[in-house]
C-alpha cells in the first residue's frame, strides 16, 4: 500500500513539475528596427528626413506584428530618451551603439534604402540586416530590388520590394532563433583588471596554471556545449566575443545572466580573487580587483 501511495505521489509531483515548466514562458528577445546611416549622419536625422527609410522600417515592423512579435519602436525610444547626444552629428557610430544599448534591444535590424535611377526606369534597393546587439554577430541578411518603372513614386516601389522580401527574411531569422533555442543564446564578456590589482592574466598559481587558463577551463565547463570564442588575451584583458548559455535552467526557469555572473564571481572567489561587474543586456564586464 505504501508503495502505491509513494508511486502516486511521484507521478503527481512529476506532472506538477512538467506543468510548471510549461507555464514559464521563454523570455523573447527585444528587437528594434533602425535605419542604416553612414558615418556622417545621425539616426534621428535619417528618420526625420528619409521618408523611404521610415516606410521601409514601418513595413518591417508590420511583418513582425503579423508574426505576433512586437518590436521596440525607435521613434518612441528616441523621444523617451530625450538624449541630446543622439541628435549630435559627430561620432555617429558610437551614438548608434549607445542608442541600441540604452533601448535595451537584444537585436537590431538595419534597413537600407537606395534609389536607382536609369534611362530604363527607376527602382529601389532594400537591404535588411539583423544583428545581435551584444556580440555584433550577423543573424540574417536579405536584399531585394524592386522592378523598374518610369515613376517618381518610390514609396510604392519600397512597399513592393519590402513586401516581397520580409517573409524570407523572417524565416532566416527564425532559423537563427531555432539555433539559439537548441544551442543557447549568445553572450559577450570582457574581463579586465583594476589599476591597483595585484593580479593579471599571466598570474601563475601553484599548479602552474595561469589565471587565463583557469578562466578558460571555467568557461569550457559553464558555457552550453562548451561553446565559447576568445577574441584575444593580453596580460591585462581577456575578451570573450561569443559564448553560449542555455535559454532555460535545468529546472525549467529562464536562464538569468545575473546568475551566470554570480557563478563566475564565486569561481573567482575560490581563487581568492575579488571582482566587480557591470551588465548591459548580454554584455558582461568583469573587473578584477
Amino acid at each position: 500500500m505504501k508503495n502505491i501511495i509513494l508511486y502516486i505521489c511521484v507521478i503527481m509531483l512529476s506532472t506538477h513539475m512538467t506543468a510548471q515548466e510549461e507555464t514559464v514562458a521563454k523570455i523573447q528577445p527585444k528587437i528594434m528596427v533602425i535605419p542604416y546611416t553612414s558615418v556622417d549622419k545621425s539616426i534621428a536625422d535619417e528618420l526625420k528626413n528619409n521618408d523611404l527609410a521610415r516606410l521601409a522600417i514601418s513595413n518591417v515592423k508590420e511583418a513582425f506584428d503579423k508574426r505576433n512579435f512586437p518590436t521596440v519602436d525607435l521613434a518612441a525610444k528616441l523621444k523617451l530618451l530625450q538624449n541630446d547626444r543622439v541628435m549630435e552629428l559627430e561620432n555617429q557610430v558610437s551614438i548608434k551603439q549607445e542608442l541600441i544599448e540604452l533601448s535595451g534591444a537584444d537585436m537590431y535590424i538595419e534597413t537600407e534604402t537606395t534609389i536607382n535611377r536609369s534611362s530604363g526606369g527607376n527602382s529601389v534597393t532594400i537591404i535588411l540586416s539583423a544583428y545581435d546587439a551584444y556580440t555584433g554577430i550577423s543573424l540574417a541578411n536579405k536584399s531585394a530590388v524592386s522592378p523598374r518603372f518610369y515613376t517618381e513614386s518610390f514609396e510604392k516601389l519600397v512597399d513592393k520590394a519590402v513586401g516581397e522580401m520580409t517573409d524570407d527574411f523572417m524565416n532566416t531569422l527564425q532559423m537563427r532563433f531555432d539555433d539559439i533555442n537548441e544551442n543557447g543564446r549568445m553572450l559577450a564578456m570582457n574581463i579586465s583588471f583594476s589599476e591597483d590589482s595585484e593580479y593579471d592574466m599571466d598570474y601563475e598559481f601553484e599548479d602552474l596554471d595561469m589565471l587565463s587558463d583557469k578562466i578558460e577551463d571555467w568557461l569550457e565547463s559553464n558555457s552550453k556545449g562548451a561553446y565559447y570564442h576568445i577574441q584575444g588575451v593580453t596580460a591585462t584583458k581577456m575578451i570573450i566575443d561569443e559564448m553560449r548559455v542555455p535559454l532555460k535552467t535545468e529546472n525549467g526557469q529562464n536562464f538569468r545572466v545575473s546568475k551566470f555572473i554570480q557563478k563566475f564571481r564565486k569561481f573567482l572567489r575560490t581563487l581568492d580573487i575579488d571582482s566587480s561587474r557591470d551588465l548591459q543586456g548580454g554584455r558582461i564586464f568583469i573587473t578584477i580587483q
Binding site: F64, E164, D167, N181
Partner: protein
Amino acid sequence: MKINTALPLIISILLTIGFSSCNTPRFTGQTVMHKATEAGTLSVIASGYGDLKFVSVKNGIQNAFRNILLNGIPRSNQSTPLLGQNAESTYKANKRFLDNLIENETDAFVLEQKNSKFEFFKINTPSSEVQLLINLAALRSHLEQNGVIREFGF
C-alpha cells in the same frame, strides 16, 4: 483507306503506345516559383502525375505542399523549409498530422488554382501542371497552432 494500308499504321501506333508505356517514367514532382507575391502568400507551379486528370492535379498539389514543408521553394517567399532546419525529423515526428494535411486538408490553404491541359500520353513530363496561390501565413499559423513548428521567436 484500304484495310491493307490502314492496318500497318494502326499496328505501328499501338506499338508506339505499347513501347512508350514500358518506359520507366521519371517522376520529378518539381515545384517552382511562379511569380513574386506579397508577404504571406506563395505563387508556385507544381507538376503532377497520374492516369486521370483529377489524380494528376491532386498529385501536383500534394507535391507543392510537400516541397514547401520539406525543401522550400527557391527565390520565393519561402525559400527555406517551412518545417524549419530539421524538416525531415520534424516531418517524421508529426507524420500522421502532416500526411493527413497533405492528403486531405490542402484545399483550405489554396487561394487560387489553375490547372494546365491534361497530357495523357506524356511519360517523362508531368501529366498536369498546377498553378497555385497558397495562403502561406494561414498554413504557417495552422502548423504553429498544432505544435508542429514553433511560433516566431525563441
